[in-house]
């Protein structure tokens, strides 16, 4: 540990990464290296018909496939000027919540929790607490099943298209899913309670700016604008003025800063931005002892636990409202789409934070420009700063290596999404 330490690979995260911390002259320096190969999605969609884009970009990520699908749909609907009916917005919000709950659940219970229970991973957890793991898996299946009723499947959702949904979900199926989710709220609460009661290290990253999606109804995951701490509301297209994206040498993930400061996105930023008053009942009860704003990156896990319960409750509510509407009036889940030139930015709260998709559609409906900024891309610089803070506070401690790995996991990075930029140097001889 003399001059530095390398954690490779960081385990129990989505993708491949390495954390490298060096210490010289009393100043720590951290590099978070994303090792996934560049994916070139922004290049792949160029020249393609805009209707194909959501379907292609859904492949960026397995866990948050739906977020990429929906975010690209928001961007393209803005670009070509499509207004969708209210039922579509509701169904999308419910689907987004199901995805968030599923991601949070798996991350909290299987990937992060073992750290604080003195266990080495989910397999050991399954041996030590089989009932807990079974409960988690039951809940996960129920969430996936509910999402299937709405969007076809949770990974690569086939029913989501620009303009709405390919087909109308059956009211019986919606109702059944809503009832099942409502029954599972106590189970979700039990899992969340465990995550809330674990003791986390304290840490502070100075100069951070929280970024979250604003607008939408209550504590929602879809919205119309961005809220940047210390700056205010940003219209989606204005992100280019404030967020700066640059390629770095040590990683395939670019560095994003807001006015020079590290940005944090994710459950903690959302909870700080939206507050607890709009949370669903059980989730609000869980959050009652929490003092906002949360500044400790490890508190992201608590925020996730609260959001997970909130999502189960709210999705159940929206599904039952949709089922009623479907019975009484029938749902309107599709609107016509015509190719038009235009530029649009979509913002969405993916499970791991703010996701931004930006497209320019040319005449004839072909995509001319694409830019995608994922939550992990935004968080990676913040993670480096947090690692430096942790390293300087705990340098020399034998547990530092474990603590750094826990810190990375508290961010729940998704590296397949983040790998993005590649610096190509062409030497002319």
């Amino acid at each position: 540990m003399k001059g530095g330490l390398v954690i490779y690979p960081v385990t129990r995260i989505v993708g491949h990464a390495e954390l490298r911390v060096t210490f010289s002259g009393g100043v720590p320096r951290a590099e978070f290296r994303v090792l996934n190969d560049p994916r070139f999605f922004e290049r792949i969609v160029l020249g393609k018909d805009f209707r194909q884009v959501p379907w292609i970009v859904s492949r960026i990520c397995g866990p948050c496939s739906l977020s990429h699908t929906l975010c690209s749909i928001f961007a393209l609907e803005a670009a070509i000027g499509v207004e969708v009916p209210e039922h579509v917005l509701m169904a999308r919000e419910a689907a987004a919540e199901l995805e968030v709950a599923e991601n949070h659940l798996v991350h909290l219970a299987l990937l992060a929790a073992p750290d604080y229970l003195g266990l080495r991973g989910p397999l050991e957890l399954a041996r030590e607490r089989p009932e807990f793991v079974k409960r988690v898996l039951r809940l996960r299946s129920a969430l996936a099943e509910a999402a299937e009723g709405l969007v076809g499947r949770l990974t690569h959702p086939s029913a989501c298209v620009i303009g709405g949904f390919t087909k109308e979900p059956l009211p019986e199926r919606l109702e059944k899913a809503a009832r099942k989710l409502a029954r599972l709220i106590p189970e979700a609460e039990a899992v969340a309670r465990l995550a809330m009661e674990l003791s986390y290290p304290s840490l502070n990253v100075s100069g951070e700016r929280l970024l979250a999606v604003a607008g939408g109804d209550g504590y929602s995951f879809t919205g119309s604008s961005l809220l940047l701490e210390g700056h205010g509301i940003l219209k989606p297209l204005e992100y280019t003025h404030v967020l700066r994206e640059e390629a770095v040498r040590h990683s395939t993930c670019s560095r994003v800063t807001a006015l020079g400061d590290p940005i944090y996105v994710g459950a903690r930023a959302r909870l700080n931005a939206r507050g607890v008053e709009h949370l669903a009942d059980t989730a609000r009860g869980l959050a009652s002892n929490l003092k906002l704003p949360l500044r400790n990156p490890f508190d992201n896990l608590k925020a996730k636990a609260i959001e997970m319960v909130h999502c189960v409750e709210r999705a159940s509510h929206i599904l039952s409202v949709l089922a009623d509407e479907a019975r009484q009036r029938g749902l309107k889940l599709r609107t016509g789409v015509e190719a038009r030139a235009g530029e649009g930015v979509g913002v969405k709260e993916a499970p791991r934070g703010v996701l931004i998709h930006h497209y320019v559609v040319g005449e004839g409906g072909l995509v001319e420009h694409a830019n995608i900024i994922t939550p992990t891309t935004i968080n990676s610089y913040h993670l480096e700063k947090a690692s430096e803070a942790l390293a300087s506070a705990r340098w020399g401690a034998s547990s530092l290596r474990d603590e750094l790995a826990r810190l990375v996991r508290a961010y729940d990075p998704c590296l397949g999404c983040a790998t993005h930029a590649v610096r190509i140097t062409v030497e002319v001889v």
């Binding site: 393609k48 194909q52 379907w55 292609i56 492949r59 076809g152 499947r153 690569h156 086939s158 029913a159 298209v161 390919t166 087909k167």
Partner: protein, 215 residues
């Protein structure tokens, strides 16, 4: 008498076959040609199992004897079953879109279990021939895409976009070309759609060559 199947002791009756004893014990052995009470000629050979002496015998016809030791899923058994399935497929006329088994294909189920490719998504498509996406004017890649997804997209009302990659069997492709022609879907559109997910695969090149001649 007692026989040992996959390490499990099973009580068996005189004159029974390995298959009957195994099924009673809840051990699954795949069958195709075997129809109880009607056909037990053991012609398809998909039910081959391995005896202790290394012999491969058809479980549906081989009689049990006391102390017989059988293993139903050794690497050798699985390899042979895959080969048997490939041979069956080679002689099979793959016309899934007009097959009465559509949506419930036994061969496809075995292909999935054993990891054999060759059958297109049409085999698991829930739509009958007259409601086929192609008949509705959509560019559906079902006829040339490897099955195994349970036709997820078609079930959600959108055409197949070929994300599982193309089938490269010439006869399947030729049938597909005839089918696209019949429904007036231009092959250039088919190739364009295919390029979304597999433009860099060798299979794509193969398909392009085959379809390209006719495009």
């Amino acid at each position: 008498m007692r026989v040992v199947i996959d390490g499990i002791e099973v009580e068996a009756r005189e004159g029974e076959t390995i298959l009957e004893a195994a099924r009673r014990a809840g051990i699954k052995i795949p069958t195709l040609c075997h129809i109880p009470g009607l056909f037990r000629e053991a012609t398809c050979r998909i039910c081959l199992v391995e005896l202790k002496n290394g012999r491969l015998v058809p479980a549906c016809a081989f009689p049990v004897s006391d102390g017989l030791e059988v293993r139903t899923a050794t690497p050798r058994v699985l390899k042979t079953r895959r080969m048997v399935l490939e041979l069956l497929l080679a002689a099979h006329r793959i016309k899934c879109w007009s097959c009465p088994r559509k949506g419930a294909c036994l061969l496809l189920r075995l292909c999935k279990e054993l990891g054999v490719e060759g059958i297109p998504v049409c085999a698991e498509c829930p739509l009958p021939e007259e409601e086929c996406m192609l008949a509705q004017g959509e560019v559906c890649l079902g006829p040339i895409t490897v099955a195994g997804c349970d036709a997820a997209c078609i079930r959600e009302g959108r055409p197949c976009t070929g994300c599982r990659g193309p089938v490269t069997r010439r006869d399947v492709l030729e049938e597909a070309v005839a089918n696209y022609r019949r429904h007036g879907v231009p092959l250039s559109k088919v190739l364009e759609a295919l390029s979304t997910f597999c433009s860099s695969s060798r299979a794509y090149e193969e398909v392009r060559r085959l379809l390209g001649d006719r495009a």
